[in-house]
Symmetry: C2
Subunit: 192 residues, 2 copies
C-alpha cells in the first residue's frame, strides 16, 4: 500500500517548486508541466492549486527559485581581488546558463509577456548590477549603474549567442566580457 508522504505546508510548497524547476530545466515550455509535477509529488491537481492559485502563480514561484539559484551561482568571495571577483562571477553566470540554455532562453523570453515574471528578471539583473557597483564605489552615480546594467545585458546577450554555435572558445568569450568590464567601468568611475 502506497503511503502518501506527509509534509508540512511549507515543505510541500518548496517540494512542488523544486519539482517544477527540475522539470523546466529538462523540458522548457512544457504543456504537461503541471501534470508531471503532481505525478512526481504524488498529489492531486486540487492540492497543487491549494498552494498556487493559478498556473501563472506556480510559474512565478519557479522563476523566483531559478533567480535565487542564479544569484547563488554568481556569488563571489569578497576576500578576493576585484578582478578575481569579476572572473568568478562571470564563470558562475556562464556556468549556470550553460547547464540549461534552452530553459534560460525560454524563461527569459516568456517573461516578456507577463508583468510578474518580468519583474523577477528585472530584480535579478538589478541585483547583479548592484553587486558590481557596490564593489566599486560607496555612493553610486546614475551613470555607473547604467553602465553596470548595460554590461550585464552584454554578458547575457553574448552568452546566449555563444551557446547557439560556440563559434569561439569559452575562455575567449569570458576574457572578452571581462575585458569589457575592466575597460568600461573604471573609466565611467573616473568620469562621474
Amino acid at each position: 500500500m502506497a503511503i502518501r508522504q506527509r509534509l508540512s505546508s511549507e515543505e510541500r510548497r518548496a517540494q512542488l517548486v523544486r519539482l517544477g524547476l527540475e522539470r523546466i530545466k529538462s523540458h522548457p515550455f512544457d504543456p504537461v508541466l503541471l501534470d508531471q509535477v503532481i505525478e512526481s509529488a504524488g498529489i492531486s491537481k486540487g492540492l497543487l492549486f491549494h498552494y498556487f492559485a493559478t498556473k501563472r502563480d506556480f510559474l512565478a514561484a519557479i522563476t523566483e527559485s531559478a533567480a535565487a539559484e542564479l544569484l547563488a551561482a554568481t556569488e563571489v568571495d569578497p576576500e578576493r581581488s576585484p578582478a578575481e571577483q569579476l572572473r568568478q562571477g562571470l564563470e558562475g553566470y556562464i556556468g549556470y546558463i550553460e547547464q540549461q540554455p534552452d530553459s534560460y532562453v525560454a524563461i527569459a523570453r516568456g517573461a516578456g509577456s507577463d508583468e510578474r515574471l518580468f519583474a523577477i528578471f528585472e530584480q535579478t539583473r538589478s541585483t547583479l548590477a548592484d553587486r558590481i557597483v557596490a564593489g566599486l564605489v560607496i555612493e553610486p552615480a546614475p551613470l555607473l549603474r547604467l553602465a553596470a546594467r548595460g554590461w550585464i545585458a552584454m554578458v547575457e546577450e553574448a552568452t546566449l549567442m555563444w551557446l547557439r554555435d560556440q563559434a569561439c572558445a569559452r575562455d575567449e568569450l569570458i576574457e572578452m566580457l571581462e575585458m569589457a568590464a575592466l575597460r568600461v567601468l573604471p573609466e565611467v568611475l573616473a568620469r562621474v
Copy 2:
C-alpha cells in the same frame, strides 16, 4: 455621401500598417488597435482580415515596419570617420526610441512570447551588429560579432533604463556608450 477611398491592394496594405504603427506609437498594447485602424481607414474588419489573416499577422507587419524605421534612423554616412559614424548611429538609435519609449518596451517585451515577432527583433539587432562589424573588418571573427551584439544589447538596456528617470544627462549616456564601443571593439579586433 462619403466616398470610400479606392486604393490598390498594395497601397491599402501599406496604409493599414502605417495606421497601425501610428496607433501603436501613441497607445502601446492597445486592445482596440484593430477597431481604431479600420475606423481610421474607413474599411470593414472583414477587409482588414483580407490583407492580414490574423491579428498576429497584422502585428508582425507593424513590427517589421517599426524595425525598418529603426534601421533607417540609425543609418550612417559612410563618408564620415568611424568615430563620427558611431556617434551618428547612437544619436539615431536613442532619438528613435526616445520618441516612443513605451511602445518600444511594449513591442520588445511582447515579442518574447511570439516566435515571429522575436525573429524580427533578432534580425534587426543582427543587422545593427553586422553594420558595426562591417565598418571595422572585412572577415569578421566570431568573437567580434559576439562583442558587437553584446554592445548593441548594452545600448538597448542602458537607453531603456535611462528613459525611466533620465537620472543623468543624455550626452553622458551617449558618451558612455560611445566610449564602451571605442574601448572594447578595437581591443577585440586586436585579439582575433
